[in-house]
Amino acid sequence: MSYLTDEPIDIAGLVRRTTRTADGACVVFEGVVRDHHDGKTVESIFYDAYRPMAEKEIARIVSDIHRQYSDVQITVIHRLGHLRVGDVSIAIICASPHRAESYEASRLLIDQIKQTVPIWKKERGPEGEEWVGWQGR
């Protein structure tokens, strides 16, 4: 299964497929395109990726977290391409018999995905466009 998509993310469907009958808790994280960043207005974002490496890197992170939290069923999907304000860029679904593990796994997953997965975003606004993280170096 791919961790990347060029289509809108069907979160309800993913939640349904992630949660097993033994699960009493499901924690969903949605990353959403917001209308500002570093004091600038954002109208849309273009997400680019080194696709095969991003797939491998997300798989590695999911496998690491699953090893730590074996009770947690995990689904991760990151959307690429042009997204507008309010669109969901990433969904992380964690389901488990008890809630503590799903909260912890969810938080670790998004933190690690943001740190190492080769995905980039170019923000577009009234003042032009810019690759996030590059100009600030």
Binding site: Y50, W120, K121, R137
Partner: protein
């Protein structure tokens, strides 16, 4: 020997290409390729240190010795999520 160099995000914009084949002497390291890119593109001059480096889709250190047929990519600061 030849290495396939991939360009992403800001590096694709700066170089105007998504990939190229670079000919290197035996024993060349990943960091050496970054330094020749810097000489070629004025916009990279400020970036003495390379961004993160991937060799064959895995993160690697700048002193990694390259082999013929390797796929090399410089990874600008990531911003997924």
């Amino acid at each position: 020997m030849n290495v396939r160099l991939l360009y992403f995000a800001v590096l694709r914009d700066i170089t105007g290409q998504s990939e190229s084949t670079v000919s290197l002497r035996e024993g060349a390291r990943a960091g050496d390729v970054w330094h020749s890119l810097r000489e070629q593109y004025a916009q990279l001059a400020d970036y003495r240190q390379p961004p993160m480096i991937a060799v064959n889709e895995t993160y690697a250190a700048p002193d990694t010795v390259l082999r013929d047929g390797d796929e090399l990519a410089f990874i600008p600061p990531v911003a997924g999520g």
